[in-house]
Symmetry: C2
Subunit: 267 residues, 2 copies
């Protein structure tokens, strides 16, 4: 998916919501457990119910890998089920030496046909380059994450800046706003002005709204740019909004609430 | 596997060799392609031929994920095939917020029954803790990697030390030499004395010998400790030593050469 196509979707739907399919089989409503693949059935119903309100789905690979082969099967079925005009993100946090990152790129961009993958920057340039070689695919690099552990290394000072700022500045020179995004956690609101100043033109994937406590309003006020420049992800607060037979309806209602707020910020 | 059990294996076999099963289906000898699962067949023959000379096998998940569901199946069959007295490492470079890292820990330590997993430290403490909760399992954290990209962020100065040194010092306080190892690339030989000084008691997983050009002799001379403290990984140089019908024999011969060198360093 190109940047123009993504921006077009955001404007049409007046939404920059990404829904995270962190589907935990232990949290799927009981009535789905009789299906052959309860996780896929859950995802299918969530996608059908929420798709008017979002522009992207993010699949957290950990929740599928934890179930082994059958989990990987649910993942494959889910990514194929998502309609083509949604940005399909593999939240995989991969990254390794060049010849290995090439294999990850092939896994997620070719075999599974995701549009985007999240990547950890620790190992540097040759661990990220192989993902950037794909046209119309996105590499979403960890910048400043939403979790408490961000304080351990991401926020360390290095010279006149901090490690995550160096990551943003360095990695952004390896590609462009057409093929790189950065993860900036919603819980880091005091940093959003600073981060947008460093990278005026890049899209940010913003997790941490909902269960983790980040504020959609604050992020939208401080970090939106001309093209919107934001994809705000909500996972648990949407997909587990209910856990009865009406779970999908409840998820849709929650997604609509987020979209309604977003609508007020879209230029 | 406990540290005592690992050290015992190293002393018995006079080897601290780990063989990396980075099995690329495009590099598997042609005569194996008629098998239902050529990658598993290749791994099985490599394991049978090399097991007298090593104490550990490392499965690089990228090479399996790139083949989708059938790749994940080869991975599961391979890890189950490795005998119980070998340290089974998932070279997966995972790491995410706490609730997601818990799912990765479950995937690799429970569902797949690996003994160890490699983890990226960028996201800090809550991304690593969930792995440490498992008894007799190992968390192998990226310290200073073997690739050129290590210079981008790992080697950045922060105060009087560098980022990777801060990672070694901080992460080591979250566990002990009984459940944490660090990845130190073999191509970073000038750093080995320094790293061993920072962490006298920890095991290092050392990739980069073989195709990447690191020196087994230099590492052994500078970084061995009382318990050996080293697992030296070789992947491509062993598993692709030949690519005819005698590929396993050639791999065994190469593994034996490494073991013969190691034998001279074991106390």
């Amino acid at each position: 998916m190109t940047k123009n196509a993504l921006v077009e979707q955001i404007r049409q739907k007046k939404s920059y919501l990404c829904i995270g399919l962190d589907t935990d089989i232990d949290k799927v409503p009981r009535h789905l457990l009789s299906y052959r693949d309860p996780v896929f059935e859950f995802n299918k119903q969530i996608i059908e119910a929420t798709k008017p309100y979002c522009v992207s789905y993010k699949i957290n690979t950990a929740f599928y890998e934890s179930r082994g082969l059958s989990g990987w099967e649910s993942l494959e079925k889910t990514v194929r089920y998502i309609p083509g005009d949604y940005l399909k993100i593999a939240d995989a946090k991969r990254g390794d030496i060049g010849n290995t990152s090439s294999q990850y790129a092939r896994a997620f961009f070719e075999t599974l046909n995701f549009d985007a993958i999240t990547v950890a920057p620790y190992m540097g340039e040759d661990s990220i380059r192989p993902f950037l070689e794909y046209e119309n695919k996105w590499t979403i690099v960890l910048g400043l994450t939403s979790n408490p552990g961000a304080a351990n290394f991401e926020l360390l000072p290095t010279g006149s800046e901090r490690v995550f700022e160096r990551v943003l500045k360095t990695v952004s020179t390896w590609g462009s706003p057409e093929n790189i995004m950065f993860v900036i956690g919603a819980t880091q609101t005091e940093e959003f002005v600073n981060v947008r100043r460093i990278l005026p033109d890049y899209f940010f994937l913003v997790p941490g709204v909902g269960t983790q406590g980040g504020s959609l309003e604050e992020i939208s006020e401080t970090a939106m740019n001309e093209d919107c420049g934001l994809l705000v992800n909500v996972s648990r607060a949407v997909i587990y909004a209910g856990n009865g037979e009406d779970f999908a309806e409840k998820a849709a209602h929650k997604a609509l609430q987020y979209q309604a707020t977003m609508c007020g910020y879209i230029k």
